[in-house]
């Protein structure tokens, strides 16, 4: 190891104490070596100084926020944090309107199938009429008939009334075969005539229910007559022509000679009822 290496080792701290002592003695004895030793030391000091200055220059270039801004930033940060905590706590402990709205929205979204189901259960439809009580069904049917009749009132049309076909003059044999127009065999005073030109219509009226009006050849029935079939029987009796309405197992007399709206009165005469029944 030459002197340069020894000096290098000395500054790096790798020499033993004995080697250090030996080198220092040599330096004291040799001015040239002493100068070399000092230059090496100063070189290392210069390298360190360069690095120190380099680092300090880097630190000097670091942007420092003014103390007031620093304090303000701290205070502002604290305030923001406190506000955030406060708001968070508020929404945590308070019932959330948004969430309730969301729940409502979700309920609305979820409702349609349920609502449809509810409507299916509550509203009598064609499929659910079986489950509806008779009274409700009757009301429902009446409403439907009223609606259909009101439409028909607006657009008068041929009523779907099953008018029995009758013949002007028929023999007893025919009466037997066609019960609806047959006359009692033992009654010679009865004659069944067909009023082909008779126009029968049904009207729904709030004022008149289960009434009739006969104007010449036109018979108007007031009431819900379309829920069940009805029949009009015209009997040519010896003295006059009598009309009867058969509806729901009952006969009702229709008097001619007046154009007033009259109530339908059920026939109670048992003999007449027998005759009318036999005619049907």
């Amino acid at each position: 190891m030459d002197h340069f290496d020894k000096i290098e080792a000395y500054y790096e701290g790798t020499l033993s104490e004995a080697e250090k002592l030996e080198l220092l003695n040599q330096i004291e004895a040799d001015p040239k070596l002493k100068s070399e030793f000092e230059i090496q030391g100063e070189m290392i000091e210069g390298i360190k100084a360069y690095r120190k200055a380099e680092l300090m220059a880097k630190l000097d270039a670091v942007q420092i926020t003014p103390a007031t801004q620093h304090l303000f930033a701290k205070l502002f940060g604290g305030a923001v944090l406190a506000t955030a905590l406060g708001v968070g706590a508020y929404f945590y402990f308070q019932p959330n309107e948004d969430s309730s709205k969301k729940d409502a929205e979700q309920t609305e979204i979820a409702t349609p199938p349920q609502a449809i189901k509810a409507i299916d259960n509550a509203t009598p439809s064609t499929n659910t009429e079986i489950n509806v009580s008779p009274q409700e069904a009757e009301k429902s049917i009446r409403r439907e008939v009223e609606n259909s009749n009101s439409e028909k009132t607006k657009q008068p049309a041929e009523p779907t009334i099953k008018v029995p076909e009758v013949v002007d003059h028929f023999e007893d044999s025919q009466l037997v075969e066609e019960e609806s127009v047959s006359a009692p065999k033992n009654s010679s005073s009865f004659e069944v005539n067909s009023r082909k030109d008779m126009d029968v219509s049904v009207k729904i009226s709030k004022k008149y229910n289960f009434h009739y009006q006969l104007i010449e050849n036109k018979l108007v029935l007031y009431g819900a007559f379309e829920d069940e079939p009805f029949e009009i029987l015209e009997l040519n009796m010896s003295e006059n022509i009598r009309l009867y309405l058969y509806y729901k197992n009952d006969f009702y007399a229709i008097e001619s000679g007046s154009e007033e709206i009259k109530p339908l009165i059920r026939v109670k005469d048992q003999e007449l009822l027998k005759r009318l029944s036999s005619l049907r």
Partner: protein, 179 residues
């Protein structure tokens, strides 16, 4: 980023982490000096020196942090400022003697050598400063600078030092320091 994370990065030679810690405690350390008869500039100088001392100890692996980083930095600042106050006090009460002159002469030599270091290549500057100031091993220098192995780093260090010696000698002759 926590102080521990910053410290770990500093120990690995991350200079950006050093800037972070410098920024973080700047106002605290400057206040210490200013509140003890120091100026803003003196406070800044002391704090920067303290941070550099902290860096040197941390990178060389000679620092085991047993307290908060701010506490450690505070203690360095306090010591440096006390020394500075002592120096100022001594400077005002004593006359310049031969020893002081020698100190100034040495400081001037170091300033010239520092300039000579600046004339070296970047790689040479890194190798020499990392080795002599940061206290890095040859392995660490090889990794940081990008050498193939430690032998390459050793060779480079030797050559760089020779180059610096040449530059210094040429400068010294110009200034007649060797005479």
């Amino acid at each position: 980023m926590t102080d521990q994370e910053i410290f770990a990065r500093i120990c690995k030679g991350d200079e950006q982490a050093l800037e972070l810690i410098y920024q973080k405690y700047y106002h605290m350390m400057v206040r210490l000096v200013v509140n003890n008869s120091g100026t803003e500039q003196e406070a800044k100088d002391v704090y920067q020196e303290a941070v550099v001392v902290f860096w040197q100890k941390a990178v060389s692996g000679n620092l085991v942090l047993t307290s908060k980083m701010s506490t450690y930095l505070y203690s360095i600042c306090l010591n440096l400022w006390r020394k500075e106050l002592e120096r100022k006090s001594r400077h005002s009460s004593e006359k310049k003697d031969g020893k002081e002159f020698q100190q100034q002469e040495k400081e001037e030599k170091i300033r010239i050598i520092r300039e000579c270091v600046g004339q070296l290549s970047e790689t040479c500057r890194k190798v020499l400063t990392y080795y002599y100031f940061d206290g890095m091993s040859m392995k660490e220098i090889a990794e940081k600078v990008g050498f193939a192995n430690t032998n390459t780093a050793k060779t480079k260090k030797y050559k760089c030092k020779q180059k610096l010696d040449e530059i210094i000698r040429s400068v010294y002759s110009e200034h007649d320091f060797l005479d």
